[in-house]
Amino acid sequence: MYLNFAHLHLLLNHFPIIGTIVGLGLFLVSFVGNNKDLRRASLIIFAGIALLTIPTFLSGFGAQLGIQGKPNVSDALIKRHEGSAMLSLWFMFATGGFSFVALWQSHHRKRAADWTITAVLLFSLVTVGLMARTGNTGGDIRHPEASGFTNGKVVEGPIGSILSALEPTPDKFSQLMLVNEWWWGFMMALHFLGLALIIGTVGILDLRIMGFLKQFPVAPLHRFIPFAMAGLAINIVTGMLAFIGQPENYIYSGAFWLKMTALMLLGANAVVFYMAGTFEHLENLGPGEDAPAFAKLVAASSLFLCFTLIVLGRYIQPLGDTIRNASN
């Protein structure tokens, strides 16, 4: 038994499709009786699912490489699904992004701002709908008994017609990223600025928790984290656009997949840090005071993972051919 991109895609696609439904369900229930814990849980789910949508999308391209050109496989159906995925991806990121902001606000003020919660509600509702469409169009590729399409000829229903007008054409979207070198350079320059911002802001907080730079109180250092989040957002967006532009440059690189794994681990690390209540105890640490051993471990792994992202990112190109035969 071995894992190929088709396996990976079929495994991961459950997260953005089912995960968003679960998140939305909890989010809506949290309004009954204004349940803060449920609200927080649903926001963490949205943020986590948004992160997992990244490898889900990426593996889709690999799955495509595995089946295109094979008998009874319609290129039109694949493109339809890809376009739907491209649209739902950005709404998922918006939902996740606003969820991060809401989590931040609820930590530093008494509660998240109304505008943030409204944004999460609106974007999550649209995301669930778009993800359902994406799942549906994906199933149609290999399940003619479900789609009812014959010979790969696509017939959209009323909702499908509206959505297909809004969904990007995959090839055109890719071309847009490659339209000129200056645009590509601009995106990559933003990527580097994002990484510098992350290292500086996450670095100073992690180093303090690890026991260095003890002259700083911990709580104010946390104020830099929104800049780290902005850096991460810039890097996720520019990274996704780069992949959409030249997927073959990344999909076969072992370093790229390791980097994505490291990114998921960084997300898990953040969840452990905030959910395990670690941070609550750290907030009041003054200058000279030591953090508990568990907190130091989490902080060290966070910093390690940030540097791992840089190292692996740098090696994407030289290790660009390490995964051949995307699917079998």
Partner: protein
């Protein structure tokens, strides 16, 4: 203007060839990686100090941030070393590219600003935090602009070069 022959001379040296062609794990990509790590230390630490001077995290005492300059100098040292190695590997590519000179100019400006911030804001222990911030506000703004420009210009080098090596023009 013809490309100076000395660039070819440099490219024919053993070191230059090793940097360009070595399959060793410590070859070109490792040097480039260290350059990236150096910049993340240099620009990252600098950005945090600049942001604090400009009012982010007001609860954070400014005086201890003097320690962050250590990271900046380490990052700069790494980048000068790796930068010189990269230049040795591809002297024609860099020195015939206007963007390279733009990058170096912004780095020089950013480092001078960094030094001025160190001297004007952090050197006098008698200054109050409010006074420290007053001394550094304009410098901090310039510092951020210079570093953003330097990183940007640096990353654009892949898109702006004309010669990959002496005699090998890249068709754009």
């Amino acid at each position: 203007m013809a490309v100076p022959a000395i660039l070819n001379t440099i490219e024919q040296t053993g070191l230059s060839k090793w940097i360009r062609y070595s399959p060793s794990v410590f070859g070109f990509y490792f040097i480039l990686l260290c350059h990236t790590i150096g910049l993340s230390l240099l620009v990252g630490a600098n950005a945090v100090v600049d942001l604090r001077i400009l009012g982010v995290a007001p609860g954070l005492p400014l005086k201890p941030m003097k320690q962050l300059f250590r990271f900046m100098w380490v990052g700069l040292a790494i980048n000068i070393t790796t930068g010189l190695l990269l230049l040795t590997g591809y002297p024609t590519k860099a020195l015939t590219d206007l963007d390279f000179y733009v990058k170096i100019s912004f780095i020089v400006l950013a480092v001078l600003t960094m030094r001025r911030i160190y001297l004007r804001v952090f050197s006098d222990p008698a200054l109050s935090e409010g006074d420290m911030i007053g001394q550094g506000k304009t410098l901090a703004k310039f510092s951020l602009v210079f570093w953003i420009a330097a990183v940007w210009a640096g990353r654009m080098l892949s898109e702006t070069y004309t010669y990959i090596t002496y005699g090998h023009r890249y068709a754009r």
